[in-house]
Symmetry: C2
Subunit: 95 residues, 2 copies
């Protein structure tokens, strides 16, 4: 068996992986929804969303729902590729 391929450190984090996994299966998701699905605290989620956004793995849109702020996330093509590559690399470890 070959040397183990590196795992993208941005994706090899439980919360960020959960966010990405969620976003892989929907068109887009709101901050509060992601928070509920992942069980993360708002602070932690905010930081991790920011990291994914800065890597261009997700696109973040800030608007308002009525009078409340609304943060919406959507996975990008770059993010989809990164996720798929990560899953691929990971299979080397778990199969």
């Amino acid at each position: 068996m070959n040397h183990f391929k590196d795992l993208d450190p941005l994706l090899h984090s439980q919360l960020r992986l959960a966010i990405m996994s969620l976003l892989m299966s929907v068109k887009s998701a709101e901050f509060v929804h992601i928070k509920e699905k992942t069980g993360a605290t708002a602070g932690n989620l905010s930081v991790q969303i920011d990291k994914l956004s800065k890597a261009d793995y997700i696109q973040v849109t800030k608007s308002f729902k009525g009078k409340k702020p609304l943060t919406t996330c959507k996975i990008t093509k770059v993010g989809i590729n990164a996720f798929e590559e990560y899953v691929n690399a990971l299979k080397q470890y778990i199969n």
Copy 2:
């Protein structure tokens, strides 16, 4: 309402996962062999082996090969179970 199962933090680390993955497929492995297969530095490997050992995921035997020290690692039943549970949980994220 946590849809994502927690990932064992001891296994959710690239190097420790590689070590465990390797040990899942062999009866036992020597320190130097693991070092080569994983590409890790000796220092890092030493630390991570120690962590896995303290959790009873692997059993570490120190002896000598001729006059050189020889560290041999072997996965335990506890380690096998943890690995399998980890892989199972992970599938929730990547499928």
